[in-house]
């Protein structure tokens, strides 16, 4: 039961990162791939009004985490306090930039919101990347399951760590490259004309950096948490994630080679998802590792709700999920296809 809920919570977060991560990537590349106001509207239209639908996955993740693993949410969110609010504020600014940026056909207005969009997307990639690095490295949990972390201490990865150290900063940089590559791949699929061509060349370069970067991060992680691989090797989902990574890597590569944009995009999506899933499987059952003393770590078994609550959630959650799938089909059918300047520059987006 607890294992299943660990899977569900991981799944929700992974879907969120895959969906909204590409928006962060699009945002970071916004000024690079779009050189005039029309092209910038085209890029924003590629995300369209779907950003709020993507953010619902984060809301669903937060609620499900509270229901299934309340003690984890309590320890982690209060410990990451300032970092988490920075994320929330950036999400707020990013949402407003997308929502109101196209409302007024005026260059100053749109230029300002484009700026907000770029900066908040970049910060979100950095912050989520650093958060991921913190999950892998661990936090200074004390015996009361609490921690409170400075932004930085001595930039080391053991003992009394800060939010930023050499490892989490490198993961944050990796997240920037990876999400930019993912966003560029999405734009390649979703746009035409000059934006498409520029996105395609950025995507190729970014993936060429991202793949070796992934290997570096893996080696670093092995150094920071030496016993992780031991956990992971015994977990079938770890190997499943590995297979997904390899297969989607091939899809991505052949997608670019054969100019099959949908294939490349699916490869990019599943590569990101596979990476996160492998990570989630590798750390299980530890959900939050203590850098002070391993016995302070929070495991899925120690932070889960009682069986009654988990059982109740198991009754309604599948129903809700099927409905969500139905809306997803509705949405993706409606927004299928490329956005182009000619058709789209008269609307809000």
């Amino acid at each position: 039961m607890i294992e299943t809920w660990y899977g569900v919570v991981s799944f929700l977060l992974i879907v969120y990162v895959v969906l909204d991560g590409r928006n962060f990537g699009v945002g970071m590349l916004h000024w690079l791939v779009a050189r005039n106001p029309e092209e910038r509207r085209q890029v924003v239209a590629a995300i369209g009004p779907l950003w709020s639908w993507h953010e619902v996955w984060l809301v669903a993740f937060g609620g499900t985490l509270l229901a299934a693993f309340p003690k984890l949410m309590a320890s982690a969110f209060s410990g990451y306090y300032l970092a988490l609010f920075l994320i929330l504020w950036c999400l707020l600014l990013r949402g407003m930039a997308l929502e109101v940026g196209g409302h007024i056909p005026d260059r100053m207005w749109q230029g300002f919101w484009d700026f907000v969009f770029v900066v908040s997307s970049f910060l979100l990639a950095v912050l989520f990347g650093a958060a991921g690095g913190n999950m892998a490295r661990g936090v200074p949990l004390d015996a009361d399951q609490n921690f409170s972390m400075a932004f930085f201490t001595d930039f080391g990865v053991r003992g009394n760590v800060g939010l930023l150290d050499w490892y989490t900063v490198s993961v944050a940089l990796f997240a920037v490259v990876m999400l930019a590559a993912h966003g560029a791949t999405y734009l390649t699929l979703k746009t035409d004309g000059p934006v498409h061509d520029r996105s395609e060349s950025y995507a190729k370069w970014l993936w060429l950096i991202a793949v070796p970067f992934l290997l570096i991060i893996s080696v670093e992680t092995w150094f920071v948490r030496p016993n992780l691989s031991g956990h992971g090797f015994n977990n079938p989902f770890f190997w499943l994630g590995m297979i997904v990574i390899v297969v989607s890597g091939c899809l991505l590569f052949s997608g670019f080679l054969r100019k099959n944009e949908m294939r490349a995009f699916l490869g990019s999506t599943f590569l990101l998802a596979g990476m996160l899933a492998t990570g989630a499987a590798a750390i299980f059952p530890v959900m939050l590792f203590s850098t002070l003393a391993p016995e302070n770590s929070l495991t899925a078994y120690s932070v889960a709700s009682g069986p009654g609550s988990l059982f109740m959630a198991s009754l309604w959650w599948p129903v809700a999920f099927v409905l969500t799938g139905a809306y997803f089909i509705f949405i993706s059918r409606r927004y299928y296809g490329k956005v182009s300047i000619k058709r789209d520059n008269q609307g809000f987006y």
């Binding site: 953010e55 809301v59 669903a60 969110f77 999400l91 109101v100 921690f147 959630a313 409606r334 008269q346």
Partner: protein, 455 residues
């Protein structure tokens, strides 16, 4: 102690109160407008008259702006359970997390999937599917409200739970939890109050256009629908829903009822104060003018019913901000009464065809729209201040719920951040809504935005 400036619980309470109050300005309008949109889309489908589509199109744009601000201000609410109220989350997450997760999974996915279709998809979907999109959005927004209110109802009147071996709460009965008698009444009261806000806003825009002589067909539509629905909803907010809500408080939180009414001394024939300022130090109402027996009758059914006084309870079980609670409750009631009178008069004027020439009344209706927002806010303040000093009534104290690891400095910093961001957000929102209103509903058959964007 509880409101001392060095008390961490105070700052976390202030931040939650500020962010939730601000957030709820937006969903109350979307929930209030949602069924107006459904109604106009339905009329358009049945009669084929274009004016109904124009009305739906115009209000869908206002709805969309509200929805967007509601989304971005709503996400911090859920996360604050973990950031600022960690010990509360540890204790009750297994219960309240259920409904917060349900809100996301059942309601919010539905609403956000169809909102784009409602605002931009009219041509692509066709009239029938567009009507269904309006229903989906309305259902999503009201379901959202229901799940959040189940969460709140559990905090007001915990039912269907059991205490797990580790001392935290777990669900014992799903049906008891989701069909808490408290939530049935609270949902009815809260949703009709949201409709009052929607009706007042629609009426105010109608009155503005009427005074300017703009968009005559649309003006008539807004004024007729706004005033009639406003009257019905204002009546329903007071009776039976508000009445039942007060009885519920009287039955389950008698000390709260005493505090709301400033009843320091209990007894039969308890009155409702029309005028009177609570004086906690001297434990009395100053210069009270009361309707004798009214509170006994309203809360418990007869004039002779005994109403408990605050003096029957230890002072540390009283709501800790009694004065604010008292005024919040009394101003809400006063505003609610004024809404009934104002909308009653306006409906009468519409009925006899005199509203367009009654410029005084149009001015009042135009300027009245902020007051339902105030009344809604005061109603929530009554509920939440009345629940104090408990986070979960009778089970868990507010002073035990905050995050012990978060320093006052951190909370003050984020509170300042929210204040600044929300101020700018508010200006932006008013500017954009004002722009839509001054642009007005499109008079031509097809929206002037040209070809519908291909998203």
């Amino acid at each position: 102690m509880n409101s001392g400036l060095t008390d961490p619980a105070f700052w976390s309470r202030l931040q939650f109160a500020f962010t939730i109050t601000y957030h709820y300005l937006f969903p109350q309008l979307t929930m209030g407008l949602a069924w107006f949109l459904v109604y106009w889309k339905w009329r358009a489908l049945k009669t084929g008259e274009e004016k109904y589509n124009q009305a739906a199109r115009f209000w869908a744009k206002i709805f969309g702006l509200n929805f967007a601000v509601g989304v971005v201000t709503g996400i911090p609410m859920e996360f604050q359970f973990g950031t600022n109220w960690a010990d509360f989350s540890r204790y009750s997450g297994g219960v309240i997390g259920q409904t917060l997760a349900m809100e996301g999974m059942f309601a919010f996915f539905l609403e956000s999937a169809f909102i784009g279709a409602l605002i931009w998809g009219e041509k692509r979907l066709g009239p029938r599917a567009h009507f269904l999109a309006a229903i989906a959005v309305a259902t999503g927004s009201w379901l959202s409200g229901y799940f959040i209110l189940v969460t709140n109802a559990f905090m007001q009147h915990p039912v269907g739970y059991t205490v797990a071996p580790d001392g935290s709460l777990a669900i014992a009965s799903v049906s008891a939890f989701l069909l808490n008698p408290w939530v049935i009444v609270q949902f009815a009261h809260n949703q009709t109050a949201a409709v009052v806000t929607g009706a007042f806003v629609i009426t105010a825009v109608g009155a503005f256009y009427a005074l300017r002589g703009l968009h005559p067909t649309q003006t008539q539509l807004y004024l007729r629908a706004g005033t009639l629905v406003g009257l019905i909803a204002s009546l329903l907010v007071a009776f039976p829903t508000g009445d039942q809500q007060a009885k519920m408080v009287g039955d389950h939180q008698p000390v709260t009822l005493a505090a709301m009414e400033g009843k320091f001394v209990g007894g039969p024939m308890a009155g409702v104060a029309l005028i009177g300022q609570p004086n906690v130090a001297k434990q009395r109402l100053d210069n009270p003018i009361e309707v004798p027996g009214a509170l006994s009758f309203l809360a418990y059914g007869t004039f002779q019913s005994y109403v408990h006084g605050l003096n029957e309870y230890p002072q540390d079980t009283w709501p800790d901000n009694l004065e604010l609670l008292y005024y919040a409750f009394h101003i809400m009631i006063t505003l609610g009464t004024i809404f009934i009178l104002l909308m009653g008069y306006a409906t009468f004027e519409v009925w006899r065809g005199a509203l367009p020439s009654n410029r005084w009344l149009l001015w009042v209706l135009m300027l009245a729209f902020p007051f339902p927002y105030i009344a809604n806010t005061l109603g929530w303040m009554t509920a939440e201040l009345g629940r104090q000093p408990w986070l979960i009534y009778g089970l868990f104290h507010t002073r035990d719920g905050y995050s012990k690891v978060v320093s006052n400095g951190d909370t003050i910093f984020t509170l300042i951040g929210f204040t600044g961001l929300y101020f700018v957000l508010g200006l932006l929102f008013l500017f954009l809504v004002g722009r839509e209103i001054s642009h007005g509903p499109d008079e031509e058959v097809v929206a002037s935005r040209g070809e519908e964007p291909f998203l």
